[in-house]
């Protein structure tokens, strides 16, 4: 068939009509000539020709693509049906959209975590090296010295096409905070990465601007003051200014020249953490924690080693050779604290280098979310299927009539499937919109931490295809049962209006589905309730200190290259001036914030306690604070004395310990006057001079760990926080504090937040809040689905029983009796759902037990409140149709017969 005919088939049909008319005219004329009357002649001609319309239809069909034609018909009809019941359409599309949207967002996350490759050349052949733990697992924390790197590079030349090394910047004395980049009098934070000269060549990258490093750069300490910025950092901090190449900036107070800008999208081989400036390895000395001779030190191991496999080579094949090199290294540079199981090369799996051993934890998290998403989608599908079932039964009469008029069953199924496909398409479109918005929200979500984290959940074609496939599958899942059911309608039953007596079996399927929905919704709601209650109790948990009216001002003198002696004087001055500010009650300094990004601690030696092999070594958390810290935090000193100004660098080493430490290591004894020492550097005895009440340092839920506090002058840290407590809430204190820092140390970057904001950080309440919001959202979704389900089934059931109810009322049944009759059925379904949902929630509660604060996983209040709430809502959903049943006019109901 010619395609042009398809498009001109209407015109073609008109021509056929004229042709047939010509035939009739001719035949009539001949008949008249044979002697018939005009009327007879016309009738005879028509008889001779047969059914002209049928002929035209046959030709018309020959000119059309049958499949497309009927599809178009079905679509138009489906659209009309959907428009006729906007309520149903809205609920069904919204339900599908939420399900698909949630999955699209989750899938874009999974896509980034599992499928997206590092933006480097041939990522499959890129590996990282490491000493395997006993058992063979490999962790990829930095674990090589520069000497070891040089040996590996030499001895593994046969196994690899290239080997490079890299080290993170921004670590000093156990603290980790980004470095500072000063340009035109302004210092901003920068996450640095120090790499060997061949790093970029190994990864196969090309600079956007300028150059990368030369192979010989980075071999000597402090010798090559150049840097390459990441494209993203250049874009956000230097506004794509190409003139930046050749400019000199200061990193941690050391002059370096910007020589290049990296390729767009490359932010280092480690996911999440955004590397903003690359420097030659030898420049690592500008980090305050790095010794000037680190390149020749054998016990300093800051390096990560990346290696490119030779073409066609596989990590398993070179394992024996690597083991030989590994054994050699271990003999030459012993690692007394480790028992490595040989050296390994492991493929750098997407999305890149992650710390930790075994399975990629991000992948595991993704799998968890994926499961949740699929569950929500299933609930949504079940709901829409239920709605369609209800509609299908309501449309039995229509289907029967169509079947009676000659529609084939296959044709009816196709018609109904097209309708659900149309629904799915609308749901898919809306769902992709929701997914996009959620994805954007996830990407731009502010995570309260000082580290530059970057997410890259992109909406791409793979994600789009995923959404479309999801929509298509859900439409089939949703549509097939109702379509088969409706098309099977027994013509006789329906047309004789006795169909309503045979619906009980169908009703059972719907009841089961509603039961499952109520159960799913209840368990989701209970989980949401548990998290909300947990957030509430975390917010109101006794922190052991008073965060009110405390402002935290954090600075890092290293960022502008301020040496220790100057920094100590700066801190002293800062503290004095802060205390003199108007309205300030107390002010103090500390090295670590409660519930901040990290805490510090380690093993300690206590003369009274002999370490037992196999038992954990005594350990404690640790903080360096100025006098007045405990007043600022409103933490009472229970025994002995507070730290005072006279606890100087020259005075005996002292510490104040918390009650947990006293209870753990000196139970039922007086800890005052006892001593302990820190196991590693610096090893000197510390005298306990006081005991303070416990307060929460790590997070709001874990048991309180032993902790001790030493005076600042006896233990220097670079990054410090100034805590200012004002007498009354004072919004101006932030500005005053920043001005104060600026007057003492211009260009020093300052982070200011209230203690309440600190508490909402990633180790504080942030995750509680996030969990409460996410599960609350899923719970509300479940609630809506359950209400729609219960309401739909109940109102359908009532409409089916109108006749029966009419008879009962005609026979004298009271309204109350009818109400009870209808309500009972709904309540059974709801009660069963609640029972199953409770069991489900118990199971889930066990899983999330560890994240709950102040309540058990079987929290009675949550279970009772949520169950009652859901029962109440379900009751209302039952009662609305039941009330309609009561108002049935018996006369009308019976006249329907």
């Amino acid at each position: 068939m010619k395609l042009s005919r398809f498009f001109r088939r209407r015109q073609w049909d008109e021509e056929r009509e004229r042709e047939l008319a010509a035939y009739l005219e001719l035949e009539t004329a001949e008949n008249v000539a044979r002697g018939m009357t005009a009327q007879e002649a016309r009738d005879a001609a028509h008889r001779k020709l047969g059914n002209a319309t049928l002929v035209r239809e046959e030709i018309y069909r020959m000119n059309s693509l049958g499949f497309i034609e009927t599809l178009w018909q079905d679509l138009r009809y489906g659209a009309r049906m959907l428009r006729k019941s906007p309520g149903f359409t809205f609920v069904a599309v919204l339900t599908l959209a939420l399900g698909i949207g949630a999955n699209t967002a989750i899938f874009s996350m999974v896509d980034w975590l599992v499928f997206q490759k590092l933006p480097v050349a041939d990522p499959k052949t890129l590996t990282y090296l490491g000493m395997a733990l006993p058992g063979g697992a490999l962790h990829n924390d930095p674990q090589f010295s520069f000497r070891e790197y040089q040996e590996i590079e030499q001895q593994c030349a046969a196994q690899f096409a290239g080997i490079a090394a890299a080290a993170f910047g921004g670590a000093s004395g156990g603290q980790s905070s980004p470095d500072g980049l000063t340009y035109q009098g302004k210092t901003r934070s920068v996450q640095t990465y120090f790499v060997t000269g061949n790093f970029f060549t190994l990864l196969g990258l090309r600079p956007t601007l300028g150059r990368f490093f030369d192979p010989q750069e980075g071999q000597a300490a402090g010798a090559d003051p150049v840097t390459v910025l990441s494209w993203e950092y250049w874009h956000s901090q230097f506004h794509d200014d190409p003139a930046i190449i050749g400019k000199t900036v200061a990193i941690n107070g050391h002059s370096v020249t910007i020589v290049g800008v990296g390729p767009k999208g490359f932010v280092g081989p480690t996911p999440l953490l955004h590397i903003q400036a690359f420097l030659p390895l030898g420049m690592l000395v500008i980090d305050a924690g790095t010794a000037p001779d680190f390149l020749s030190k054998v016990d300093t191991r800051p390096l990560i080693i990346l290696a490119r496999l030779k073409p066609g080579s596989r990590p398993e094949e070179i394992r024996p050779a690597l083991n030989v090199v590994g054994q050699h290294l271990l003999a030459r540079y012993p690692r007394p604290d480790e028992k490595p199981d040989g050296m390994r090369a492991v493929q750098l799996r997407p999305p890149g280098l992650l710390s930790g051993t075994g399975m990629n934890p991000l992948v595991r998290a993704a799998a968890f979310f994926f499961t949740l998403g699929i569950l929500v989608l299933l609930l949504a599908c079940m709901n829409v299927a239920n709605l369609l079932l209800v509609r299908a039964t309501a449309r039995q009469a229509e289907m029967a009539v169509r079947a009676a008029l000659g529609a084939a069953r296959r044709r009816l199924v196709r018609q109904l499937l097209t309708e659900s496909l149309l629904l799915a398409f609308l749901g898919c479109a809306a769902g992709i919109g929701i997914g996009l918005a959620t994805t954007r929200l996830l990407t731009t979500m502010h995570i309260p931490t000082a580290l530059p984290l970057s997410f890259d959940f992109r909406f791409n074609w793979l994600v789009f295809a995923g959404a479309v496939v999801t929509a298509f599958l859900s439409s089939l899942v949703v549509g097939i049962a109702p379509a088969l059911r409706a098309s099977r309608a027994q013509m006789n039953n329906v047309l004789h209006d006795s169909g309503r007596s045979v619906t009980s079996r169908r009703q059972r399927l719907r009841n089961v589905m509603v039961t499952i929905q109520v159960a799913g919704s209840l368990s989701l709601l209970i989980v949401a309730g548990l998290f909300t209650r947990s957030l509430h109790s975390a917010e109101h948990s006794d922190l052991g200190f008073d965060p009110q009216q405390v402002t935290n001002i954090t600075v890092e003198p290293n960022q502008i290259g301020m040496p220790q002696a100057k920094a100590e004087a700066f801190y002293q001055e800062l503290l004095q001036r802060a205390r003199a500010l108007p309205g300030v009650e107390t002010a103090s300094l500390s090295a670590w914030l409660p519930m901040g990004d990290s805490q510090y601690g380690g093993p300690i030696d206590i003369p009274e306690i002999q370490p037992v092999p196999g038992q954990p070594h005594p350990s404690a958390l640790f903080n360096a604070v100025s006098p007045g810290y405990f007043q600022t935090m409103r933490i009472p000193v229970w025994r002995g004395r507070d730290l005072v100004e006279s606890d100087s660098a020259a005075a005996p080493y002292v510490a104040v310990i918390n009650q947990a430490m006293a209870d753990r290591y000196w139970p039922k004894q007086d800890p005052i006057g006892r001593q302990f020492s820190v196991s590693d550097n610096p090893k000197h005895p510390v005298h306990v001079v006081g005991v303070i009440r416990n307060f929460r340092m790590v997070d709001p839920y874990s048991p309180i760990e032993p902790a001790y506090f030493v005076p600042l002058p006896q233990h220097y840290f670079s990054t410090m926080t100034l805590h200012i407590k004002t007498m009354v809430p004072d919004p101006d204190i932030t500005r005053q504090a920043v001005a104060l820092v600026d007057s003492l140390a211009p260009t020093m970057p300052v982070t200011v937040e209230s203690m309440m904001e600190t508490l909402n950080g990633i180790n504080g309440l942030f995750l509680f809040r996030l969990a409460a919001i996410l599960t609350g959202f899923l719970g509300s979704l479940g609630l809506i689905l359950a209400i729609v389900g219960v309401y739909g089934v109940m109102s359908y059931s009532v409409s089916q029983r109108t006749h029966e109810i009419g008879i009962r009322m005609a026979l004298g049944a009271q309204r109350r009796q009818i109400l009870r009759l209808v309500g009972r059925q709904g309540l059974w379904v709801v009660a069963a759902g609640l029972g199953i949902g409770m069991l489900l929630a118990f199971a889930v509660g066990e899983l999330i037990q560890d994240f709950l604060v102040g309540i058990g996983p079987a929290d009675a209040v949550t279970y009772t409140t949520i169950s009652l709430l859901l029962a109440l809502v379900a009751m209302v959903a039952c009662l609305v149709p039941a009330r309609r049943a009561v108002h049935v006019d018996p006369i009308v109901a019976l006249r329907n017969e």
Binding site: R18, E19, L20, A22, L26, A29, L49, G50, M62
Partner: protein, 117 residues
């Protein structure tokens, strides 16, 4: 009107056969639907009676395949009518189909002969 003794084979005309008949009719020259229908009836001594309407889808199909072509012309009594004529491809098709038909008839006759004697 059908002649006595020869029962008309109404509605039994095989589809392919109708094509063959139409092509054969057009071998004599262009004709419109009315003429073709009557020609088939007359030439078969009224044994083959097509419902004249069913002729038109067949004509459409043949034209679709490029075996015949159509044009609007004026009929013998000065009326507008759609004429069909044989194309070179149609002429070739006619000889192919005629041969096949002959083979079929021979084959069927061979099968029938022993039984009829």
């Amino acid at each position: 009107m059908p002649k006595r003794g020869a029962q008309p084979l109404q509605g039994e005309v095989l589809q392919g056969t109708l094509d063959l008949l139409v092509l054969q009719t057009l071998l004599l020259g262009p004709a419109h639907g009315h003429t073709i229908a009557y020609a088939i009836e007359h030439r078969s001594d009224d044994v083959l009676q097509v419902e004249h309407g069913s002729l038109y889808p067949a004509l459409h199909r043949l034209e679709d395949r490029g075996w015949i072509a159509s044009f609007w012309g004026t009929s013998e009594n000065n009326r507008k009518a759609r004429y069909y004529r044989l194309t070179p491809a149609g002429r070739k098709q006619l000889s192919v189909q005629t041969n096949r038909w002959q083979e079929l008839v021979h084959a069927i006759n061979r099968v029938l002969r022993p039984a009829s004697e």
